[in-house]
Symmetry: C2
Subunit: 262 residues, 2 copies
């Protein structure tokens, strides 16, 4: 199975431009699963909730229809972060899309900083999706720092954990998503954005450093901090099925829920 | 508060020699809390359970009495791993000792590989100790890979998390103990051993790389892979009290136990 990420710098508010950029990049590679950053169609740095409202879309909606056509053309599955409009509510969501359309979506459970002003926290837990018999989970950016989020998905059998991200805290997400792979013995794909946002009254710099990590902790691909990069690697997802780390140790069977107070 | 580790290579079975080595090293520094490796008095690579039985001691016992005298002389607290004998059972334990004697002990909850042949798994949970008003937790080596163990201690207010270790899996413990500091916003002290054990039918190499990590993830001190090293740094333990990582984020208040399935 060929899995990858596309690290780039979405332009704020330019949904069509961002979608077309992702589409044209996909033409240059063959992948079975590609992960784009958090809020990759809309951009991240909202000045107010009216901006978030104007860029949010229902799922399915125009952006997911665009991605579905792309998935059909390229014969692949896509994970992309986008602002979701659901009735009167908005969520910082990510979709999993294949040639058949929307496979499912995830609503970010742990909102970061000003996201709390513009989005509701996720209300649907941590769903598990399946493509070609492989179990896929999605977490978004700041979810990375809460070990319980990855653990919840891993205990449900997730083999590939996708992290569409817009990380701003230096090194944290790159370290944690490597450790999530190790402690849960699964593949992680961190698809972070790069670049900076300067919207007059607000500025942000994003940390890039997207990476794909194997269940043994090996970094299979990584991007620099500042440059756009598309990376695709071939993996065997069955490597994430067993949880053995020594002759007598299994990372799940050895857990001690009788002693944990969480 | 001055906290540190002493990374060295305990000699198998040479309890007096190992204790004296730790004592003479402590003469070269001033520390308030020093952490020695896992099974630092006995050595690690037992060929059979009879060896573990012959080296195990009650707590308190001869080794803790030796350390108490040392703690009085040096005016410090000490964390050291040692095999514990308790009735018919043996545990892979660690003690916290001060000038007043044994403050408490911890029995390793997650045993690694052949340790399962020689020790019972810990049966007392994850206790929290206090010295000079600072909350201290102890985990031993392989406990590091289970995020629930550090989380359980952190949620009880632990500010400094000590990891006496004999790590053999490359880089895992060095990565995880840095992430445990970040995700729980506390100090971690990884006191790993270095060197190799060659006991005829069994060999092991230990990974060194002991380190002290601050709540923001900064590595305050680190040791090389192969050499003995004593490191002590000055910290302000109150930095581990707040859990804020942005204007609107608190690592504990933002948890979503309503969504976790653990």
């Amino acid at each position: 199975m060929r899995i990858g990420f596309y690290q780039f710098s979405p332009e704020f508010g330019a949904i069509d431009k961002n979608l077309n950029k992702m589409a044209s990049t996909l033409l240059t590679t063959e992948a079975d699963l590609i992960v784009f950053p958090e809020l990759a169609n809309s951009g991240y740095l909202f000045l107010n909730s009216a901006e978030a409202e104007s860029l949010a879309e229902p799922i399915p909606g125009p952006s997911t229809e665009f991605l579905t056509k792309l998935a059909v053309e390229r014969g692949c599955h896509i994970v992309m972060g986008m602002p979701e409009k659901s009735g009167q509510k908005r969520f910082n969501s990510a979709v999993l899309i294949g040639p058949q359309g929307v496979v499912g979506s995830y609503r970010k459970a742990h909102l970061f900083d000003e996201e709390k002003l513009h989005f509701q926290p996720g209300d649907r837990g941590f769903p598990v999706f399946e493509i070609h018999g492989v179990k896929i989970g999605i977490l978004i950016c700041f979810d990375h720092i809460f070990p319980e989020s990855a653990r919840t998905l891993a205990l449900q059998g997730v083999q590939i954990l996708c992290y569409p991200s817009n990380l701003v805290l230096p090194t944290y997400g790159q370290l944690t998503t490597r450790v999530r792979a190790i402690e849960n013995h699964l593949f992680t794909i961190l698809a972070n954005r790069c670049g900076t946002d300067d919207r007059g009254s607000k500025q942000l710099s994003y940390t890039g450093g997207s990476q794909i990590v194997a269940p043994d902790g090996l970094v299979l691909a990584s991007a620099p901090e500042e440059r756009e990069q598309l990376s695709v690697v071939e993996i065997d997802p069955s490597q994430a099925c067993g949880k053995g780390v020594s002759l007598r140790n299994d990372l799940f069977a050895d857990r001690r829920p009788d002693l944990y107070k969480l």
